[in-house]
Every structure is written in C-alpha cells, then in structure tokens.
C-alpha cells in the first residue's frame, strides 16, 4: 500500500476525530491516579493535543455565524410564507361570489326559512337571537364553555403562581430581591383620582343599566348575552380602576365568579339539553313561546341570554383582574 496515501488518510482521520498529531519530543505528564475507576475519560490523556472534532468545530461555527444565518433564513422563509399565504387568500377571495348579490348562497332558502318562520318557531323578534340561541344554541353553548375554560385556566395558572409567591413571602428571602428576575413587577397601585371617580360615579350606573337592557332585551332588540356581558364587564373594570379592586372584590370575587359562571353553564346545558330532546325541529316544545314582542316570550332565549351574559361579564372582568393584580 502506498505510504503517502496512508499518511494522508491517517491525518485526515485525525482531523475528523480530533486527535491531532503529537510532537515527538514532548513528554507526557505523569497521569494522576484515577480517583474513580469508571469516570475517567480516555481523551483526557491527550487533552493538551486535543483538537476540536468536526462536530465541535461545527458547533463553534454555529455559535459565531449561526444567529446571522438563522435571521437571514428566517426573514427569507417568513417573506416567502407571507407571499404564499396572501396569494392563496387573494385567490380565494377572487373566487367568492360578489358582495350582496341576490343569487349568493347566503341568500338561498336557508335564510329565507329563518326570516319567514324564525319568528313563529322561536318566538323571538330579533332573528339573530333566535338564530344563535335557538337554532344554533349548541354552538353558543360551545362558545360559552370555551370562554369559561379559558378563564378557569388563567385563574389556575396565575392563582398557582400567586399562592407560591405568598408561600415564598412567608419564608425569609434567600435571594436579592433587587436583582431577582423572578421578582414580580410593582403592584398596580390604585391612585385616588378625583376626576376618574367623578366620571365613574356618573357613568357606571348608566353602563350597568345599558348592559342589563342589552342582555334582557336580547330577543327583542339588537344585542344579546355576549355584547351585554361585555358591556357589564366594562362597567366592572371601570369600577375597579376608579375605586380600587377591593371595592369590586366586595361583591364580585373569585368565588362569585366560579359559582355564577358554573351555575349559568349548568343551567344552559340542562335547559338546552332538555329542549334538544323535546323541542327539536319536528317535535312539539313544551316551553311556551309567548307573544312575540313581550319581555317574557321566545321560550328559553331570555334565560339563556342571561346565562351567557353572566359568563361573559365574569370572564372578561376576570381576565382584567387576573392580569393586573394576579387576583380576582
């Protein structure tokens, strides 16, 4: 075999594996006796002459150039993805039927049936409320459950961290509180603001009244559980900002939220499950529809609106309180 080729091959092997050639006149220092028989690495013997293996060289190169390469690749790929997505969506929009055309699928027999028979079948003057709380009540139930689940998850996560921090506060601090990364931000103190208080005392009753009207008249006029609940929650948030969380806490605490929301969800599930069995499309519903236009009409839509309003109001206020105070 050719000796030169062998030497080249050996040096290449050394280059890949990281065992560089040893100078011949070097004296290997005496090995320290191994302290533990199984933890000694054979590489330590040649650590003075250890060159980086290909893998180590690669990771070093990554450390130096990797971020730049990644950012270039990232921006390129993201621009490409954006272009693809935008063109896909634009192509889809171009295929859609023209807006407001009378032959559109949105104006076919389904909507006709809803408009013609919706009032008689659901008893609701507001067709939208009849749609989302009677024909499609199961969808609305899913939405309310999703909201409730989200609020409970936030409550669990932030509540757990709050309980841990309380536990930590009882113990003496071991780390420097000034520089600790885990240190929570300063509590959002409530400032006594006369202007805010004056405006709030004038507007909170109006907002609360408006929310209640929107919720209760959901089957008669535009609005309904979701929008009314959102209006109620804005009143709660305003009260919390003007008078401090303690005042709101007096009548709307974590316990109130859990109790009211789960009760509302249970009532929704039970009543709607019941009406699914008794009041489906071709079955006779035993719940009276009442006269169209009265407050007490439209069967189950009014109680369901109130349930959804309670859940939404509690959830949205709960998000605000949890994210700002970590408490509710």
């Amino acid at each position: 075999m050719n000796e030169e080729l062998k030497a080249v091959w050996a040096s290449f092997f050394n280059w890949v594996m990281g065992n560089g050639p040893r100078p011949e006149n070097e004296v290997i220092p005496a090995e320290p006796p191994p302290a533990l028989p199984f933890t000694q690495k054979p590489k330590d013997k040649y650590s003075r002459f250890h060159e980086a293996t290909l893998k180590e060289r690669y990771s070093q190169w990554l450390e130096i150039h990797g971020l730049h390469l990644f950012s270039v690749l990232y921006s390129g790929v993201s621009v490409l993805l954006c272009i693809v997505l935008v063109s896909l969506l634009l192509a889809t929009v171009a295929e859609l039927p023209p807006f407001g055309h009378e032959r559109n699928p949105a104006n076919n027999e389904v909507i006709e049936r809803y408009v013609k028979h919706g009032g008689r079948e659901t008893g609701a003057q507001n067709i939208v409320a009849g749609l989302i709380l009677d024909y499609r009540a199961f969808d609305t139930f899913g939405e309310s459950s999703v909201l409730f689940t989200a609020a409970v998850s936030v409550l669990m996560i932030l509540g757990a961290s709050r309980r841990n921090s309380l536990k930590d506060d009882s113990k003496p601090h071991t780390h420097d509180p000034e520089s600790g990364i885990l240190q929570r931000g300063p509590p959002l103190m409530h400032h006594d603001d006369a202007i805010l208080r004056g405006v709030a005392s004038l507007s909170i009753p109006v907002i609360l009244m408006m929310g209640c009207v929107v919720v209760i008249n959901g089957h008669l006029s535009p609005g309904g559980g979701f929008s009314g609940g959102a209006i109620l929650s804005t009143a709660l948030i305003l009260a919390a900002n003007a008078y401090g969380f303690g005042k709101v806490h007096a009548f709307f605490s974590e316990r109130t939220f859990i109790v009211s929301s789960s009760t509302a969800l249970m009532i929704y599930a039970l009543s709607k499950g019941y009406s699914f069995f008794t009041g489906a499309n071709h079955l006779h519903s035993i719940i009276p529809k009442g006269t169209i236009g009265n407050i007490l009409s439209a069967g189950l839509i009014l109680p369901l609106d109130i349930c959804v309003g309670l859940i939404v109001a509690g959830t949205l206020y709960g998000f605000y309180a949890l994210f700002s105070e970590g408490d509710m």
């Binding site: 103190m189 929107v214 959102a230 605000y320």
Partner: protein
C-alpha cells in the same frame, strides 16, 4: 350615504396600515380602538346592529383595556409608575 361609506372604508385601511407602522405602542392601541369604532359604524351601515354592539363593546372596549394593561405590565406606558415606586 355612499360617500360616507367610502370615507369610512378608506379610514379603515389607513388605520390598519398606521397600526402596523406606528413606532409608539400606545399610539398603535389608540389607532386600533378607532379602527374598531369605525368598524362598528360600518356594521350599522351594513344593517347588522348586533355585530355593531359587540364590536363596540369588545373591540373598542375590553380588548383595548387588556392591551393597555399589557403595555403597563411591560413598562411601555409612561414612567409614572416607575417614578412612584
């Protein structure tokens, strides 16, 4: 009426662009609020008052409040709290 609709729609587009190119996060949120408000007016003009109420309450109200809260948490909204600490 058509002119008003066109004006509102153009305002929507201007708002949407301004939200993304505004360097101040507080300004972005305020522009976003005005976007939601104009959207609510457009929903009314499109004869869907249910959506208008929801848009005004959720889009212009609660969402913006949560955004403000997030800004305050990351310390991007003024320096009042930091000074009083």
């Amino acid at each position: 009426m058509l002119i008003i609709e066109w004006l509102l729609l153009i305002f929507l587009i201007v708002c949407a662009i301004a939200v993304s190119i505004s360097s101040n996060l507080l300004n972005s949120i305020i522009i976003f609020m005005s976007y939601s408000l104009v959207m609510a007016v457009i929903w009314v003009l499109l004869r869907s008052p249910d959506l208008a109420i929801t848009e005004a309450a959720v889009g212009a109200g609660v969402t913006s409040v949560l955004f403000f809260l997030a800004l305050r948490k990351i310390g991007q909204m003024g320096h009042k709290d930091g000074e009083e600490k």
